[in-house]
């Protein structure tokens, strides 16, 4: 229950940062925090009491029912790589916006005309 509350706190901090901060770079950081909170929630759903990490060391078939779920871990690996691609492309677009308009705050960018 504590892990679910922590991941919900991460999601709320991420949403607050995207909505309330003025600089464009801080909004990108908030999006990354929100994505990491969702990853934490997905992995912690597959935990069983007294579980072990899913790596075999000997040919011993009696302990196989004590492993945690390996399937959400494999899907979250894919999601982390996609989050990296989104962050890199967003930072490249912010660099070009700063070169053209000489500013990178959303309040001043809202008042541009033409």
């Amino acid at each position: 229950m504590i892990v679910y509350t922590v991941s919900l706190m991460l999601m709320c901090i991420g949403i607050y940062t995207v909505l309330a901060k003025e600089s464009l770079l801080k909004k990108v950081i908030g999006l990354s925090i929100f994505t990491n909170g969702i990853h934490l929630l997905l992995i912690s759903l597959g935990y069983t009491k007294g579980g072990l990490a899913p790596i075999l060391t000997t040919i011993d078939l009696r302990r196989l029912s004590l492993f945690v779920d390996p399937l959400p871990q494999a899907l979250v690996l894919t999601s982390i790589v996609i989050d990296l691609s989104i962050t890199a492309l967003a930072v490249a677009v912010i660099i070009q916006v700063h070169r053209k308009f000489k500013t990178s705050s959303s309040k001043e960018l809202n008042t541009l005309r033409g």
């Binding site: 600089s23 464009l24 770079l25 990490a53 790596i55 060391t57 040919i59 690996l77 982390i80 790589v81 890199a88 930072v91 490249a92 660099i95 700063h98 070169r99 000489k102 500013t103 990178s104 705050s105």
Partner: protein, 140 residues
């Protein structure tokens, strides 16, 4: 940068490179695999770019050569996948489990996957740091 940072970087760069290659190659025995190994190799080159200036590092690792290497690694990965689907080689009979040479074709997939990720992230680092910003009037 200072001489302390330059000397420490010269000592640390090969250690981080070997650590990244270890995590990438032992993907079928311990946690890790292709993607974390490639990121660690790219972070070793990022340490070089921070300590020495980007122009000096680019004379050794040029950007055009990195693009060709990344494409070659991607083509090798695709060719291994298609050859395994079409030919179905029987490598598993010559391997013993729980050693380094095991796991069928996954060891080659791990190596080429880590090379694609590492070279791609070095190109991203070069593109984002490259030119200086001309304006000095803004706050961010």
């Amino acid at each position: 940068m200072d001489i302390i940072i330059k000397t420490t970087t010269r000592l640390l760069f090969p250690l981080i490179l070997v650590f990244g290659c270890y995590i990438a190659m032992h993907g079928h025995l311990s946690p890790g695999g292709g993607f974390p190994g490639g990121v660690i190799i790219a972070s070793a080159v990022l340490l070089l770019v921070i300590a020495f200036t980007q122009k000096e590092v680019e004379t050794q690792l040029s950007e055009i050569a990195l693009e060709d290497l990344k494409s070659i690694a991607g083509i090798a990965l695709l060719s291994i996948v298609f050859l395994e689907v079409v030919l179905r080689p029987d490598i598993m009979h010559t391997q013993t489990p729980f050693t380094l040479w095991s796991g069928g074709v996954t060891i080659f997939l791990n190596i080429f996957g880590s090379l694609v990720v590492a070279f791609g992230l070095i190109i991203v680092i070069y593109s984002l740091i490259k030119e200086e910003w001309k304006s000095k009037k803004s706050k961010w």
